[in-house]
Amino acid sequence: MASLDQLKQTFFEECNEALQQIEAGLTEIREGHASDDTVNAVFRAVHSVKGGAGIFGFEALVGFAHVFETLLDGVRRGSLTATPETIDVLLSASDVLSDLVQMSQAGEAVPAGFGNECRTALEHIIEHDQKGAEDDDSPAPAEFEGIDFTPVPVDFTPVPAETEVADGPHSYAITFRPKRDMLKKSNEPLYILRNLRNLGTLDLSAQLDCLPALADLETDRPYIWWTGTLQTAATRAQIDEIFEFVVDDCDLEIVDTAPPLAPAAEPEFASAPVPAMPEEKSVAAPPAPPPDKAPPTATPADAGEPAAAARSPSAKPAATTTRIELERIDRVVNMVGELVIAQAMLGQIVQDLPEGTSGRLSQVLEEVIHHTRELKDSVMSMRAQPVGSVFQRMPRLVRELLAKTAKKVRLEMVGETTEVDRSIIERLGDPLTHIIRNSVDHGIESPADRLAAGKSEEGIIRLSAEHRGGRIVIEIKDDGAGINSDRVLKKAREKGLVSADATLTEDEISNLIMLPGFSTAETVSDISGRGVGMDVVRSNIQDIGGRISLKSERGRGMTIQLALPLTLAVMDGMVIKTGQQTYVMPLSSIVECLRPARSEVSNLIGTRGMLQLRGEFVPLVHLGDLLEISSTAGESGERVVIITDAGEGTRFGLVVDELCGHQQVVIKSIEESYGSVPGIAAATILGNGRVAFILDVEKLSDLAVNSPVGTALSANTASAAKFALT
């Protein structure tokens, strides 16, 4: 059984989820696309926080949450309107609540009068609440015995069996929208519809708006949904029974359009049949009616519960979740990693067996490899979290930044449900914060400047996340002034980062700001902080195996793109050999491999060459040179060239001695033992039991430039210069 401390921990976790919901909901409300449900959700979240706080004794939290909740109640009942001013107060209330939660969690004493300004603002708005005023409970949520209620003792007198009488044929409007997983759970919509048809006269039309093009059709996904009417003498229970097994896997709407008595049936989502209000009169022991009001039969409030609005397809299903300690998941991840290594060794052994003997063994091994891959994917997905949890901090950040300037900025967020490995989420916060700070501080201009430039007063920062080509791409795009390339170039020259006569393109100049020691901020502004430059952001991103790229358009804005790996621990790699050394290259960086003829290689300087490939020139780099190993093949020997993608369109041809095949490798970090070695990202254990280093392709391209041959090259050729700045 859980101890009180553990329960408190659980409570704080619940609070954090609630706070995220509140933030998201209030943002929706402010942007004008909130539904009734949104307001309800925010109210419920605050109410939950209050409830739990009361139970665990966090009085300051209870007090504030109560006022917050009261205002939200007024809004959701319609007795208060959510004006922009009200919403602003609600937003700051959410910030205060968040702070109070943090303080309660840290066990800090809440300073007297904390949040009073906001509280007063809330109370002020509440005072103007007309309808709710009399019915409202006392400001302090004390032990409230003020409602006259006679507890109803259990009545054991037998009650005549309730038969659900269908009173004449009804007409029901039905909307049936299978969700993604319905087919996978072996539920065939057509069977269901057939059963429905057996109940009476069914008039349905299939909706085809969700059908994609044939090429994009996934065969195990339902795309068609239906709306229509059913005329039947059957009871509601019988209709619900038909959908009983699929209730979770579809959006279902059954509305009684010709009810016998006043109230319309509420939209169904429970498998237990719920009779319409009038039938409840026959339930045992009707309670003593409260003295002030005579209970009306079909109260307008009840019938008013949302009836016909079709549920949006993006409504989240009731998730079945459970809490697991991270440590446990990490242990499983490690075990899967070891499994992958062992399986690679097995593969090696099978390879070494004499010809013809391995047959069946190879087959089974293939299966094992397949299952391990699936296992790895499942386990990694356990660690996956939606980026929303990091994104959710940004609106508040922007609010705080804006409070200190006269600028107007709107933050748009897209793709918050995109999932990323947990460890990446944790390391994403700081870089994102810094980039957005920069945008607000340096990127977006003052309202006056923006108007003068023909832009709208309000700047926009768009934060998006999506899966793209095996990576997660996060983009931060603003419509500000972009980078002042003249100033940047000047500064770079001053600092000796770029030679005085080098000519650089706009993109190359933009990327200069990520070089270490670069900062054009004349004064260290309070907002952007000190000493944290874009170079730190870049190394943060690279540390988690990602890439960052910048694109700036003078006067139009700037786009920063972060490309992050989907998972960290296991990767597909190509095993290569140079000299006596074996290395592994990430398969994702390899464009193609070839063995060029001598004629296709032109030598420019020393052993460095250029490969002519389909009309393009690709600079060649010897791995042996970069890592200072002598290679075994002679000058004229046939080498293998791996066309490598080092990010941002930079390509070069890596020359190695041999390709040894590709396999899944488990990434083992060596940083603790060896620190950061340029060109080497990590290490792994190959199938033959030997250790191989995993190459850091981006650093390799940096290395390629910094060698003496490289600098000479960069002074002359444009493509190599681009190379230099990646």
Binding site: A41, G51, P153, P275, V283
Partner: protein, 129 residues
């Protein structure tokens, strides 16, 4: 006089921390057979499969709130007579009226002590031994 140890009770609340606290409080009073549900649907599943003597449910839950659950219970042929106590964080008259109409047996405001919970249960089920 019902015996607390023998009573099978179902606690419904979407907040795990609150559910556990309610469980602890019930155990303090002497209850031993305590089922839990996170939301209305789960509650109805348990209710239709297990014999229950008492349901204690929070009002504030997503998808199906306590009132909705009460109605579902009162409408279900098998479990409709099970005593139902509604928990709420707000002394909301309107809510209590609706709950009364729907057939709730008692209501309780959070946070509550073991003593108060016991009182409320005894009001409905008779003195507990």
């Amino acid at each position: 006089m019902p015996n607390a140890v023998a009573i099978k009770v179902l606690v419904v609340d979407d907040q795990n921390s609150v559910r556990q606290m309610t469980r602890m409080t019930l155990e303090e009073i002497g209850f031993r057979h305590i089922h839990e549900a996170e939301h209305g649907k789960q509650a109805m599943e348990i209710a239709s499969l297990q014999p229950l003597d008492l349901i204690i449910s929070d009002f504030n839950m997503p998808e199906m709130d306590g009132l909705g659950l009460l109605r579902a219970v009162r409408g279900h042929p098998v479990v409709r007579k099970v005593p139902f106590i509604l928990l709420t964080g707000r002394g909301d008259k309107e809510l209590v009226v609706k709950a009364a109409q729907a057939g709730v047996n008692n209501y309780l405001i959070k946070p509550f002590t073991a003593t108060t919970l016991r009182e409320k249960i005894e009001q409905v089920m008779g003195k507990l031994s």
